[in-house]
């Protein structure tokens, strides 16, 4: 090190070379990317200063990076202004300045090219869903595999009716913007129709005020649809608290006091999943859970009688309602999985082949599937 410093002091230091500046692609503008070839004396350097020159010739030091680094992102630029950059290698009082880069202009983009693969996947998947919906609308029969957890819904409602106890339905703890909450509310609608038919009480405690208002409307509508609006009890669908553990404590208390014959836990859950499911199991209730949270699934599988795993939660409303349009979309989902499997196999083969000399161009096709 000291030898390098001595050489630098006697002979001066070499400047960085090949400074390149360009607009960062696929962004909202106000950003220029810089790269350069390190100084030949990089090991003895302290840092590289980045000097920006604007259209009026004014120089500004916009940043500094330690030696060994050959890139910089300037996020202090204005859009549609022409800039050039120089990189100054520094070692105490010694300085070596690079040649100025070419002109770079930052611009906001109107299309994120890095997401073309997502767009292609969306188009293919949408096509599959629409194709099978059309297929179903034409009256063709679609085979849907049995889902034990959903087959048990009817039985669970019947059990509650026989025992003269209510049914507890927890529509998850997430807000309405979560797809799992919407899926849970769709299932609630089907469950409510069954409870209305059997004349069983349905308790729906909510953590989110918006989910509460939607749940209230759905249950009311379900009772009306089966011709039992008189059976609907407004006070049975209610908001509890938006605090996670306050909600869990309140629902636990309800399970212990009211002793529901059946508990449904559908939607998004966090740490309270096991608190709810274990309390329910201790009261002897039949429990049916469904969540798309992979971290909570083991808890539900352990403590509940039936668990809808991931996508089964989304399939539930179609499965229960047997609406051909909804069933068609399920078929589309299945074919979407076939496409994903094919892409996985093709991607693996391409990656292996791209390692062979002369076939490296295959890496370009492989990179298309990378999501950024």
């Amino acid at each position: 090190m000291s030898f390098l410093l001595a050489v630098c002091f006697i002979f001066g230091i070499g400047p960085p070379e090949a400074v390149k500046a360009c607009d960062r692609p696929n962004d909202a503008g106000k950003c220029i990317l810089l790269s350069w070839k390190l100084s030949p004396d990089d090991a003895g350097l302290k840092s590289y200063d980045i000097v920006r020159t604007d259209a009026f010739g004014k120089d500004t030091v916009v940043g500094s990076v330690p030696s060994g680094i050959g890139s910089f992102t300037d996020e202090s630029v204005r859009d549609n202004v022409r800039y050039t950059y120089r990189v100054v290698a520094r070692q105490d009082s010694l300085r070596a300045e690079s040649v100025a880069s070419g002109i770079a202009v930052s611009r906001a983009q109107w299309f994120n090219k890095a997401r073309v693969n997502v767009l292609v996947a969306l188009v293919i998947f949408s096509f599959l869903v629409f194709y099978f919906i059309r297929h179903a609308r034409a009256g063709r029969k679609l085979f849907i595999r049995r889902i034990a957890g959903l087959d048990a819904v009817e039985e669970a409602v019947g059990r509650a009716t026989e025992m003269g106890r209510p049914i507890l339905y927890v529509p998850g703890l997430a807000g309405i913007s979560q797809i799992s909450t919407i899926a849970a509310l769709n299932i609630l609608s089907e469950v409510a129709k069954k409870t209305a038919k059997y004349g069983t009480d349905l308790l729906v405690p909510n953590r989110d005020p918006i989910v509460y208002t939607v749940a209230l409307e759905m249950v009311k509508e379900a009772y009306t649809e089966v011709g039992r609006p008189d059976m609907f009890k407004k006070e049975n669908v209610f908001f509890v608290s938006d605090n996670q553990f306050a909600y869990a404590a309140a629902v636990d208390g309800m399970m212990v006091r009211e002793k529901p014959a059946t508990n449904f836990f559908m939607g998004m859950f966090w740490a309270e999943s096991l608190i709810l499911a274990e309390t329910g199991a201790a009261t002897g209730a039949v429990q049916i859970a469904g969540t798309d949270s992979v971290h909570q699934l083991p808890f539900f599988i352990t403590a509940c009688d039936h668990t809808l795993i991931g996508e089964e939660l989304y399939a539930a409303s179609a499965y229960l309602s047997r609406d051909p349009l909804l069933l068609g979309s399920l078929k589309g989902q299945d074919w979407g999985k076939v496409v994903i499997l094919a892409v996985l196999v093709a991607g693996s083969i391409l990656l292996v082949l791209s390692g062979i000399k002369g076939l490296s161009f295959l890496h370009v096709i492989y990179s298309f599937f990378n999501i950024s």
């Binding site: 503008g29 208002t213 209610f238 908001f239 404590a249 274990e278 352990t302 989304y314």
Partner: protein, 221 residues
């Protein structure tokens, strides 16, 4: 028709705008996205009023009917009113002067004090109960009743022992085996589930945007 038509139209337009927005990095597109998030927050604030009304009606009915555990409902209502009054008239800054005094002598009942000394320990208590529930759930699931449960028991035992220092003391390769179990078979299963969830989410979104799935509108056709 109007009851469902307008919300469905709004849903269609908002859904398509949000899909298009995902592919446009321009500041205008970002502005639309951040503005829509603000709208969601504002709507949530309005919905909270409905939530408070629901709490009042629900617990009020229980108290009037003297349902089982009505005393808890009384505690819930009193706590809600007292906290709201302290928050509204006592302010949220303990050092600022407010309409309502929030301390008597050295005894403070300021909103922050209530939160730190009631809500936080109560939440922590509920969370800590999880440890006991985990033990009982683990006992139930790890009983070797059949082949699958035995595999689960063995895998769980290896992972648990491999993750603690005594694991490497017993056999130095045990932590590696535990990590392999988590990284390969467990991760493979998780990813399989995640693929299904991703496709399910997109399909459900499409159904909602296009009005095929109308349950969220309160059911009906």
């Amino acid at each position: 028709m109007m009851k469902q038509g307008i919300p469905r139209l709004l849903c269609l337009v908002a859904g398509i705008v949000m899909i298009v927005q995902f592919f446009i990095p321009h500041p205008i597109s970002e502005k639309i996205f951040s503005e829509s998030l603000r709208w969601v927050r504002i709507i949530s604030a309005f919905a909270l009023v409905l939530g408070v009304r629901s709490i009042t009606v629900h617990h009020g009915t229980r108290i009037i009917r003297k349902s089982s555990g009505w005393g808890y409902s009384l505690v819930a209502l009193v706590a809600m009113v007292v906290t709201a009054v302290i928050g509204l008239f006592g302010g949220v800054d303990p050092h600022a002067t407010a309409l309502l005094p929030t301390s008597i002598g050295g005894f403070s009942f300021h909103l922050q004090v209530l939160y730190a000394n009631l809500m936080v320990p109560l939440g922590a208590t509920m969370f800590s109960i999880l440890a006991f529930y985990m033990a009982s759930a683990a006992y139930r699931s790890f009983r070797a009743r059949n082949k699958e449960a035995t595999v689960l028991l063995v895998a769980a035992f290896i992972v648990m022992i491999g993750m603690v220092p005594i694991g490497s003391a017993i056999w130095p390769k045990l932590p590696d085996i535990a990590q392999w179990l988590l990284n390969v078979p467990s991760m493979a299963a998780k990813r399989g589930i995640l693929f299904g969830i991703a496709l399910g989410s997109v399909a459900t979104s499409l159904k909602i945007i296009l009005g095929i799935e109308r349950g969220w509108l309160g059911g009906g056709k």
